[in-house]
Amino acid sequence: MEKKILFKYIDDPLQVNIDTYMSHGGYKAWEKVLKSMKPAEVIDEMKKSGLRGRGGAGFPAGMKWSFIPKDSPKPRYLVCNADESEPGTCKDRVLMEHDPHAVVEGMAIAAYAIGSHQAFCYVRGEFAYPAAMMEKAIDEAYSKGILGKNIFKSGYDLEMVVHTGGGAYICGEETALLNSLEGERGMSRIRPPFPAIEGLYGCPTVVNNVETLAVVPQVINMGAEWYAAIGTEKSKGTKIFSLSGHIKRPGNYELELGTKLSYLMNDLGGGMLDGHKLKAIIPGGSSTPFLLPNQIDTPLDYESLAAAGSMLGSGAVIVIDERTCMVWVIERLIHFYKHESCGKCTPCREGTGWLEQLIGRIEAGEGQQGDLEKIDSICDNILGRTICPLGDAAVMPIQSALKLFRDEFQYHIDNKKCLVKTEFEFK
């Protein structure tokens, strides 16, 4: 079911103003935390709520915070990952544009929980407007004494900075993001050491997604039990789904985890665009394996999607109809991943290049017998063999497409043309 926690005030154009935000109970959680909770209690609350990272990996947020060493003399940093770049995903942008104070408040609470006095919000470079909204919200918070020195007279200091990127998908990966934030090239770091031990500037760091942080104030206000009661047994709470592609009413929808995909597509999304037949669904952003039409009743939660052979990912549901050539879809995606590979690991750097060439030539009608086997082997070569998940992300949709639509690829090679081919026209 649709359930608006994050989106409670999303339609209120004044929500971006701090006064409106506060009149809706904003910054109450921050005040409560500062005045009456110990950092460990905040972390406990988070653990109890069962909130999992909404960036794609789904790692429990409270657990992540608890990894920060208690006795490190180094400063700690909180970083909000707003480098939203996974194709199909456009939810964080909406939160920053329409409810930036919720993100600020969530960042503040998370910072306090890990003992950080300096938080950064890394916004992708193209998001000039969302970044400006975040900066405005932070300025407002400073002017009200909600950020800065001795907040709410608690003696706690917190500085918050918006940092903008420069157009690199890889910077959504947390270690590459940290490098980028340090002014380096956005290349992933080797783990261990993990960011919780040696992150930003070599200091303990937590990196959380915008959506994860934005819901934190609600969890504090309403209590972990309340939040944990929403969703399924293992997938707690709500999640924003970005619905795009061949669908009547694309958009961002907040659903209770465990809601059926068909509810999102049909009840909220209004069904297929122009009544065409469904061919495939990418359920969690471009790097997740495809679902087939017969899987449309899969509940949208971490476990059910995994059982269906895919992933919840970032919650970006891309709907593809019968007119679409799957080779063309895959070509689009591999072009993207090749463009975004940082170039550090051999398999990803060279592999994505070769995949683009091979898939490109099949799409161009120049495919040769044996190409599919070659693609299989390159995919095997990349999957699990790189420092960061970009390699896996590039390969998963390809492997899935080759599994589910292999005939279509073979047809392309044999007949040097698409099985179905529509030049999609914009209106």
Binding site: G166, A168, G183, S244, T324, L333, E423
Partner: protein, 166 residues
């Protein structure tokens, strides 16, 4: 100096917000890009001087981040998303339409230096596809009619010599 006083002041004000000034490289590149529309080695040199880091550190970072054009572009840089969600809703035809309207092919700049057309990867505007970004502004749910209007408005702005609205 290519960077104007205001830009230098902004870089400096951003620099002090970080525990290590090297972090200001990306924000500084952004400031420089906003002023000039593209980046160049001369700008890297100025930035390196302001932030007090070696020139090469600015240059290597700049070369990694593809958002900043490294060659001069028109007054308005049109970036059309060609990634999957937009492509499903006709991004390719949008690009062709723009090519026809502007009389240039992708990657080119109009002779009057007003428009440069390129295609880019996903810009996080998937539920409002197809879309394009012109300088820093997103234009979403594009239709032919909307594109016509946008181009007309921008042309008008350029004719009136208005400042870059970014």
């Amino acid at each position: 100096m290519i960077l104007k006083e205001k830009a230098v002041a902004e870089i400096k004000s951003r620099m002090v917000r970080y525990p290590h000034r090297k972090s200001a490289i990306l924000p500084a590149l952004t400031v420089a890009y906003r002023q000039e529309g593209h980046l160049s080695p001369a700008l890297y040199r100025e930035i390196a001087k302001i932030i007090e880091v070696p020139y090469i550190e600015v240059a290597e970072a700049a070369s990694f981040y593809t958002m900043f054009p490294k060659e001069p572009v028109g007054k308005y840089l049109i970036q059309v998303c060609h990634n999957i969600s937009c492509a499903l809703l006709g991004a390719d035809s949008l690009i062709h339409y723009l090519e026809e309207k502007l009389g240039i092919t992708k990657g080119e700049t109009t002779p009057d230096d007003i428009f440069t057309l390129i295609s880019v990867e996903c810009l996080g505007s998937c539920a409002t596809a197809p879309m394009m970004q012109i300088n820093d502004k997103f234009y979403e749910n594009l239709t032919r009619e909307k594109v016509d209007r946008i181009l007309e408005e921008l042309r008008e702005q350029a004719r009136n010599g208005k400042e870059n609205t970014v």
